[in-house]
Symmetry: C2
Subunit: 224 residues, 2 copies
């Protein structure tokens, strides 16, 4: 039996919270197809590398993010026949969640607010859809997991964590109710002995992320 | 730039509840590699077909499940270099959840209880790991979605639904508490006008699945 052979790529949806907005890393294309359009950073996997290895390599090579603390997970695989006009490419998308990182040193790589990116006219391939799937995955995971802390520095206040939830979900949350829920969730937040006034108000306690992966009880999004 | 080209397959984790056990569809291999071992039904994608199309085709061709009501979703993609000794194969696994279905007409395809399958000596490729990932996905999805109903006939009793939860989670649940939770969850169950005595006890009300995809509130697994 002859087995069809295809190119397999990895595309990266990297999300962070910068300047009070949910931002994604975009790659500015400078050659056809989609010359001048935005795309996700990515590239082809090599014959000798596993998928997570390819994702980490491309995170360094293409996104300029080497040696940074980042949560990386497989998002979904996209494979309809005409998604790349040059050849058949099956793309394994990875989702990265990161605390606010410095701007990339590469001119082609920029953090951009996701609401601008989603509404921008020219997106390459099916990358707008992959970005939207990544955003929805992040929104849903904030409900059931402790991943919101992946957007925070190692030590953070409850108000900072609440701003992550508000920005990712695009909603506002009641501060007292939020405080009660997150400090009541099992092993989500570990109090440190430190406080900070960097929020501008009274000294607020600093927490670090506990070892819970699942949030019990979950933090459900306010319903539309 | 030369782009490496690989074979891409789809492998199917198909789960059902049969005779009070969680069962998966296995494929008995009759040629090397892994001659005589069990594997998941699957095959290579064709150059002109999208991934979900390939999954549906293989569900019919290899699993013998054409024209059946089945929930099918992408599970995860597996791509480490030596997972197939013949060549580099990236496999996109799909998870199918089905109500109890007739035995397959194919001798190579058998429903087998997952606890037997997981402990059987000879599993082909990384299919034991893919099966375990599929089982965990199903267990987790029963918490947050209405997918338990995918294991039920179109009309079912609360006791039948509870047995699905108990079998998939491998636990027992308090009947009254369960009844209160599932009938209280928003748009999960729609009462029909019918009752049944097929459970053997008093006439029990029959329900069908409502249009809720997410369960609110969720049904959390008892903690270990």
């Amino acid at each position: 039996m002859s087995v069809p052979r295809l190119a397999v790529s990895v595309d990266l949806v990297v999300l962070t919270v910068r300047e009070q907005r949910l931002c994604a890393l975009r790659w500015r294309r400078d050659r056809p197809p989609y010359d001048g359009a935005w795309s996700l950073p990515g590239g082809f996997i090599q014959l000798d590398e596993d998928l997570p290895v390819a994702a980490s390599r491309l995170m360094a090579e293409r996104a300029g993010l080497a040696d940074v603390r980042i949560h990386l997970e497989q998002l979904q695989t996209y494979g309809y026949p005409d998604r790349d006009p040059r050849q058949r490419v099956v793309s394994v998308a990875y989702l990265g969640l990161a605390p606010d990182l410095p701007a990339s040193s590469r001119a082609q790589v920029l953090w951009t607010a996701v609401d601008e990116l989603v509404h921008e006219d020219r997106a390459a391939f099916d990358h707008r859809r992959i970005l939207c799937d990544g955003m929805e995955r992040a929104r849903a995971k904030l409900e059931y997991t402790s991943l919101a802390a992946a957007f925070c520095p190692p030590e953070f206040t409850v108000a900072e964590l609440r701003r992550v939830y508000e920005i990712v979900w695009g909603t506002s949350l009641d501060p007292r109710n939020f405080h009660r829920k997150v400090t009541g969730a099992d092993r989500f937040l570990i109090p440190t002995e430190q406080t900070t006034t960097r929020d501008g108000g009274r000294p607020a306690r600093l927490y670090r992320r506990g070892d819970a992966e699942q949030l019990r009880p979950p933090m459900l999004r306010p319903r539309a």
